[in-house]
Symmetry: D3
Subunit: 174 residues, 6 copies
C-alpha cells in the first residue's frame, strides 16, 4: 500500500513531519509530493523545487525515517484543475490513497476514485509554512523551533532565510 | 560533492546501472534525473515519469545501493535549449558535476560553468533503451538479459512490455 | 448572417436566455461561445466546458429553440489579449457580428473590424451567474427562479450545486 | 447512453458519415469531437476548428440527422498522452463509450475505464481524409465523390480546396 | 561594455529617459528591454510590445541619442522566476551589467553573476508610468509634462490615451 | 510606409542584405523580424535571438544603412498558424506591407489584409542560411564569401562556427 502526501513545503516544518511519521507508522509506503515545483523567489514560493528536495531529504534522514519506503517528487503546477489528478499520477509511482486537508484536492481525488485518509494535526496556526515565513520576515527567531534542526541549519548555511526577507515585499518582477 | 546523471530511462538497463555504480564508487552523491518526464505512451517514451521512478528505485534497491546518497527526480521537457540548464537546476538539489555522453548537453552544461565528467561504458549498441524496446517489439526475450532482474519482473507484472508493443507502431494519436 | 454571443455560462441563466432569444428573433444564426472552457472547480468557474455544454443544450432544447441555427462551442482562455480575437475566430464558424456588454471585448472586436450589436437586458444585478452562485453558497433557494427549470434539475441531479459550495471558499489548490 | 466519436475531420468524408449514422441508429446520443482544433493551414490540418464545425454541421443537416442527439465539439491538442483523456473529458458532455480505430486512443480510453465500441467501415484506403487531400492536390475531381455533396459545395464556395493545394507542399512557416 | 535597462515602458516617461541618458553618458552601450511584451489592453499593460517600441524609438530619436549604441528588444514574460535570467539572456545581445531598482531582479541577476549598477532617479512618485496612466484616467493633462513631447504626440495621434481609459476599469475579459 | 521582412537569420547572409537594401532604397522604413527567437543550439537554429540581433546589427552598421529607419525585433514562435499574424503584429511597430517568399506566410498575410511585396533575389541555392551552415559543417571556408565580413568576424570571435558543428549532428538533447 502506497500513499501520497501533497504540499508545497516552503519550507518543511514539524507539522509536516508529524504527518509523515504517522503515515509511515501505519505501514504505508509514502510519496512526498512537492507541488508548484517550478516556482521560486516569490513570497509564497521562495525556494526552488530542488532546494525543497534538499530540505525534506535532510529532515527525514535526521529522523532516521526509512528511505526505502519514501519517494520525494517535485511536480510543476499546471493551473488547470480538471487535468491536475492525471498530471499528478503521471509523475508519481502508483498509489492508492492520498493525505491532504484541502477540500478541493479531496474532491478532485474522490472524483477520480482515489481514497482520502487523515492524520491528526499539530496546532495548525503555529505549524504552517506561512507562519514560519512571516516569523522570518519579522526577524523573530521563534521560527527555528517550528522546523526540524537540520532544516534550520541548511537554511542559515545557504542564507535562504535572507531570501525570504528579500522577496517578501516584492510580488512583481519589475 | 554531488553529481547528476541525466537520462530518459525508458527503461533503466544494465548500462545505466554500470554508470550509476561507478559514480557512487568515486564517493560522489548522485541525482538521477529522469528527462521528458511528462510524456508516456509513445514509441520512444512508453512509460510515465512515475513508472520510471518505480523501475529505477527497484533497480537501485535490489543492488543495495545507498539511498541516502541518491535522489531520483523526474523533470518535464521544455523543448527550449537556452532555458534547459536553468530549468534543470531549479528542479534538483545543488550539484557540481554532470555525467552525460551527449555532445549538446555537454556544451550547454559547460556554457553554464558546470563540469562534465565521464565513466566507462558497457557496449553501447546492446545496452541502450532503444535496443531493449526493439527486442520487446520483436518478441525477442533477450531483452531480459539487458535490464536488472527486478525491472524485468516489474515490467511483466504491470504488462509494460505489452504497452511497448501497442504504442510501438503508432506515433500519432488519431 | 451569423452572430456570436460570448459568456462563461457558470451557469447559464434567464438573462442569457433572454439575449439568445432576441438574437434568434432577429433572424440571425448564433454561435454560443463558452469562454474559459479549460477551467473548472474554482469559485468563478465551477463547471467544466463539457458540463456547461450540457446545461446550455438542455436550456435551448427545453425552449424549443432551433438547433439548426445554433452552435455551442467551448473555447479555452489564452490570457493574451492581442491574440484573443484570432484565437476565437479559429474555433468558431464564420461570423459577422458579436454581442457582448464588456467594454474590452467590444474594443478588441472593433479593432478587428467586427461589428458589435446590442440586446435589451433583464435586470442585471439579479440575472448574473455570479449572483446565482452566491445564492447557492448561502443556501438560498431563490437561485432556482433565476435559471431555466431544466438547468435546476440537471444541477441537482449531478449535485453541481454542492460543488459550488465546496469550491466556493477555496481558491487555491493546496 | 452517450458516445463520442473522435477525429480530425480534415475534411469530413463519407466514411465518417457511415460511422456517425451507425452510432445514431443504435440509439446512442453522439458527441463528434474535432481533435487538433487549434491548428490550421498545415498539410495535415488545413482547416481551422471552426471551419470543420461548419463542414460537419452542413453534412449532418443535409442528411437530416437528429441535431438534438448530436454535439460537435472542437478540442485543442495538448500533446501529452497521460493528460489527454482528462483533457477530453473536461471539454465534452458526459459519455460512456468511445468509437475509434486507433490503438493508442483505445488503450488510453481503456486505462481510464471507458468502454470502446466498434462500427463497420467503408473501404478505408479510399475513405480517408488523407486521400481526399491528396486527390485535391493532384487536381483529381474524384475527391468530390468521397465527401458529402454539401461539403463539396462549401469547400468550393470558400476556395478551401485551393488552400489545401497552397499549404500542401509547405510544412514550415518560413 | 554593454548594459541592459529593464522596464515595461507603459509608456516611456522622462524618468526612463533620465536613466537612459546617464547610462549612455558613461560610455556604455545599452539594450532597452521591454518586459511583458506579449500583453496589451489591460490596465497595467495597455500597449502592445510593438507600440512600446514605437514610443521608445520616437523618444530616443527626438533626443538625438546614438542609435548605433542602443538596441530595443521586447521580450515576453514567462512567469517562472528561476528561468527568467536565462530567458532574458537568450533574447538580447551579450551584456555585462544591468540597471534596475527592483530588489528581486537584482537578486536574480546577482545569483547569475551579473553586475548591478545604479543611476540617480528623478522624483519617483511623479515619474512613474503608473502615475501617468492614472492622470490620463482622471483626464488630468499634467501627464503630458511627464513624458517626452514626441510620446504625447504619438499617443494622441493613435488615440492610445483613450485606450488607457477604456481598459482602465476592466481587468477581466468577460 | 513601414514594411516587415521576416526570416530566421541563422545567420544573416548576403541574400538577406540584398533584400534589405532594396526595401530601404524604395524609401520604406523596415522592421527586420527574427522568427523562432526562443530557440538555439539546434541544427536549424544554432544561435539565440540575441546573438542574431548582434549579427544583424553588425551587418547593417557596416553597410552604413540608416538605423533610424530600421527596427530589429526577435519574436518567439507560437506554432499555431491561425494566431501567427496577430502574434507578429503585437510585437512589432505598425506596418503596411510584408516581404517574404514563403507561400504560407503570403497566404496568412493576405487573409489578414496585409499587402505582400517582392524583391529580386540573389541566386537562391547559394545564398541560403542552410547552405552556409552546411559549408561550415563540411569545413568549407567558402561560407565566408556568402555572409558579410563583419558577420564572419563576429562568428569566429565567439566560436559560433564551432557551435554549428557541435549541434549539427545532434537533434535530440539526450
Amino acid at each position: 500500500m502506497r500513499s501520497v502526501f501533497i504540499g508545497r513545503f516552503q519550507p518543511i516544518h514539524l507539522g509536516h513531519m508529524h504527518t509523515i511519521k504517522q503515515i509511515l507508522n501505519k505501514g504505508e509506503d509514502l510519496v512526498i509530493i512537492i507541488g508548484s515545483a517550478q516556482y521560486s523567489h516569490t513570497p509564497n514560493n521562495p525556494f526552488t523545487g530542488g532546494e525543497r528536495v534538499m530540505l525534506i531529504k535532510r529532515a527525514i534522514m535526521d529522523e532516521g525515517l526509512p528511505l526505502d519506503r519514501i519517494d520525494i517528487i517535485p511536480i510543476p503546477d499546471i493551473n488547470i484543475n480538471p487535468l491536475w489528478i492525471a498530471h499528478l499520477k503521471s509523475y508519481v509511482p502508483y498509489f492508492e490513497k492520498a493525505y491532504t486537508h484541502n477540500v478541493l484536492v479531496q474532491r478532485l481525488m474522490r472524483d477520480s476514485g482515489i481514497k482520502i485518509d487523515e492524520t491528526t494535526l499539530l496546532e495548525r496556526s503555529a505549524y504552517s509554512a506561512n507562519h514560519v515565513r512571516d516569523l522570518i520576515r519579522w526577524n523573530n527567531e521563534e521560527w527555528t523551533t517550528l522546523v526540524p534542526p537540520g532544516v534550520v541549519k541548511m537554511m542559515k548555511k545557504y542564507k535562504w532565510d535572507e531570501r525570504i526577507k528579500e522577496v517578501g515585499n516584492n510580488t512583481t518582477k519589475r
